[in-house]
């Protein structure tokens, strides 16, 4: 899930190899390493179910799924008599992350100053905005504080339709 760089902010690169970090550092770019934390904890499973009458396919975390909404707990049920299991898969919500050595590094644009807003196209941190309904953000906006990028959680609320 991406918010894209609608505000045309300077783009922070993400690299996963030490040679790449060294090349950018030699060119004068600031950079810092971020560990990829608790990757294995993110793993879950997902069921692909097919409605026996309509043929509708649905992906769900389980046959009984409960989640909280403003009106209280919502329970969704997919009983065996109505929904046929097509496949159960192990998933990692960050499955599309590049090859994982347990760390990544952000490369700052050359002219970025402390306090500047930046756009991170490939987030290393596992950030889950509340509006993403348990999905992880792939990108984000933040502020460079001179040592690290502070991700602005409000940036995930900015893309709204009202009416």
């Amino acid at each position: 899930m991406k918010i894209e760089n609608g505000n045309k902010l300077p783009v922070v690169l993400t690299v996963y190899k030490s040679q790449h970090v060294n090349i950018y550092r030699e060119k004068g770019h600031k950079s810092y390493v971020v560990p990829i934390r608790n990757w294995w904890i993110l793993r879950g499973s997902e069921l692909l179910l097919e409605n026996r009458k309509t043929g509708e396919l649905i992906e769900t975390r389980g046959r009984v799924v409960r989640y909280f909404s403003r009106l209280g707990f919502i329970t969704e049920r997919y009983p065996i008599k109505d929904w046929k299991l097509i496949k159960k898969t192990a998933i990692n919500p960050r499955w599309n992350r590049k090859p994982n050595r347990g760390w990544g590094a952000y490369i700052l644009p050359l002219d970025v100053q402390k306090g500047d807003q930046v756009y991170v196209a490939d987030l290393i941190e596992n950030i889950r905005p509340i509006t993403y309904r348990k999905r992880y953000a792939d990108d984000g906006e933040g502020v460079w504080d001179g040592k690290k990028i502070l991700i602005d959680m409000e940036s995930y609320n900015k893309i709204r339709l009202i009416g």
């Binding site: 918010i3 649905i58 909404s69 403003r70 709204r160 339709l161 009202i162 009416g163």
Partner: protein, 97 residues
């Protein structure tokens, strides 16, 4: 289950037209004031704006069937909404208002 958003037109997952998301005053989030109940009040027209961030598809569909003119605040990053920039075609909806 996702709701389909073609441009600013909202449909159920089965293609039933629900609503066109359009504000005559073109307000943005700065014009919304929290009402203390998880929703908002519009500073321009004082109408209630329903916050869809934590609604399920069923809740939202029932709301719009009971109150077709209800104003919504939709976060385009919310995976409940499958968003496409293109306009809806007759094939997308069999029951457009």
């Amino acid at each position: 289950m996702t709701l389909k958003l073609f441009g600013n037109q909202l449909f159920t997952s089965s293609g039933e037209f629900l609503k066109t998301i359009a504000c005559p005053k073109n307000v943005d989030t700065d014009s919304l004031k929290p009402d203390g109940d998880g929703n908002y009040v519009c500073k321009m027209c004082t109408h209630k704006i329903f916050n869809t961030d934590e609604m399920s598809e069923l809740e939202l569909v029932n709301l719009l069937r009971r109150h077709p003119g209800a104003c919504l605040s939709i976060n385009l990053a919310n995976p409940l909404f499958e968003h496409s920039q293109r306009a809806a075609t007759k094939k997308d909806s069999d029951n457009e208002n």
